[in-house]
Subunit: 335 residues, 2 copies
Amino acid sequence: MDGIQPPGRLVTLTDVAREAGVGESTVSRVLRNHGSSSKRARERVAEAVARLGYVPNRLAGSLAGPGASAQLAGVIVPSLANVVFPDLLRGLTGALDAAGIRCVIGVSDYDPDREEALAAALLSWRPAALLLTGLEHNPGTVALARAGGVRVVEMIDTDGAGIDAVVGFSNRAVGAASARHLVARGYRRIAYLGHDLRVDLRAGKRLAGFEAALGEAGLALQAQEIRPGPSSPGSGRAGLEALLARHPDLDAVYFSNDDMALGGYFACLAAGLAVPGRIALFGFNGLDFAAAMPQPLSTVRTPRLEIGRQAAACLIGEGPKRIDLGFELIEGATA
Amino acid sequence: MDGIQPPGRLVTLTDVAREAGVGESTVSRVLRNHGSSSKRARERVAEAVARLGYVPNRLAGSLAGPGASAQLAGVIVPSLANVVFPDLLRGLTGALDAAGIRCVIGVSDYDPDREEALAAALLSWRPAALLLTGLEHNPGTVALARAGGVRVVEMIDTDGAGIDAVVGFSNRAVGAASARHLVARGYRRIAYLGHDLRVDLRAGKRLAGFEAALGEAGLALQAQEIRPGPSSPGSGRAGLEALLARHPDLDAVYFSNDDMALGGYFACLAAGLAVPGRIALFGFNGLDFAAAMPQPLSTVRTPRLEIGRQAAACLIGEGPKRIDLGFELIEGATA
DNA sequence: GCGGCTTTTGGCAGCGCTGCCAATCCGGTT
DNA sequence: AACCGGATTGGCAGCGCTGCCAAAAGCCGC
């Protein structure tokens, strides 16, 4: 398999051509199944490839080809700690795989400057597309994306104008729907419990939509608890405990996401507070565990995988520029 | 920023050289900060780069350089649905970022053939390293990895021989430690509840270690429930319900991971079964939520991020070939 | 103002591949 | 037997960059 190569040098297409006794162009054509070639040529090339263990060098291939690399996609996500983004990647890689496109990933840690640096770094691989999260970016990032000569897809958020293609749902609408649900269920003394909003702008948009809808119902947020650091069940539990200590009269809490809500639920279990009788809980994301809870979590299911898939479709088959995939409110039993 | 380029062509190093009034080699040297250059040259190049919005083409750079691309790492994980792998990626990207190395990812869906195809696809980008999950691969994958002329790092599992470098912990030892813990706590009628073992070989190794340790204590697994599909809280809940229906006399359950265990905990809450009085639960992974539960989950914390970091170190600074990062048994309150 | 030295510079080949084009081949015609 | 159109083929330039090397520039002391 690994042949008798002088260890320093890998097998090249030229080696294959020599071994197969055909020209380089023939090998190239056969391997890419592009243009015409005789059965005999195909067989000889296949044999030589197997014999030498040839692995094409796409660096060279992409450089020589016309549109530079059309085989890589640059993806920048703010985090990998939040299930949302791996789910997004899952949808992406799944759909891109079939097209032979690989994802090169960058993690911005919710830092726009880092995002910009990553955009430049990823563009230097001349990807077919640049996939960003959200609509808010540094001017420099936008300039890079525009000048990069690549398709740009902004994922998850549709509340605002995008650079090129946008695939996601309206976070404002999610917040509004969540508020309307709580109001309709009769909750009046409602608080918000979230993680750092300065970094997670989409959570901020949900909250804005939530407050707006509350306002329309003549209500206002009774309290707001913002926990430092990333969202987590631990943070949600501590947050709800803190919130209820300060505002014992609350009857419902809107969490920035399901992880926080799960922590809140644990806090209620631990303190023996009836859910939703004493306090109602409402999440966001519709994660797996939400449905498995003794009382299914009331939340909003977001089409994370589908966003990834549609984003992939956007770079392959020139789909529409703007796709709103909506969301689904899950009534659950906690609110 | 995006200059006055004819839209088809991106700015090249030659353009920068012309704009700056210096030679191409000078631009190259300045940009890579390699070799000596005058202050004046550096300034002129910097200006030209900014003026033209130049983004280097690493495809070309890597092709021209000596060791092909040393700036990409190919990573193959079996799944992105299990938090473990995003965590791994998180550690990896974090550590690799500083070195300017980007990860190209492939998701094998626990399929060795797919893994092999992905290995070939990733190697075609001439990465500096190939990072695999686990130690079990197709012969073809191993051959590719060896012939690829790249550093190979196998992550997570240390129970067996690796191709090149191995970073992880012993899954067998985790299983054994978990069993000893349960035995020491007095549990005797112990069952295993997991997801499909044929695909998740590491879960199988944990179970093997678990059963071996049980055997040493003169005990045997009372029952075993394998749920189809991936692990999830929903699957864990349904699994525990099924298990207890068949074997009401169980006093402890070892889950394939925390997600499953969380589902089991929910099942107990829903059925009003005392944990650990009526039934003890033991997980694996040490996820965030485990500590936030009303009763902290008894589990084993695995060094997922650290595995990623050490794997990164393996490709940068020629670290040791084999790193066992161990694990930590968390006593919790559920077992 | 001139060697002798170091620093800085530009030209150019070539990394492995693909696209283009001209050459060759094949089978059937005339 | 010479001829024709399409299928198949190989040669070679060139993608954008880096490494090498020789040339040019700068610097020192005399």
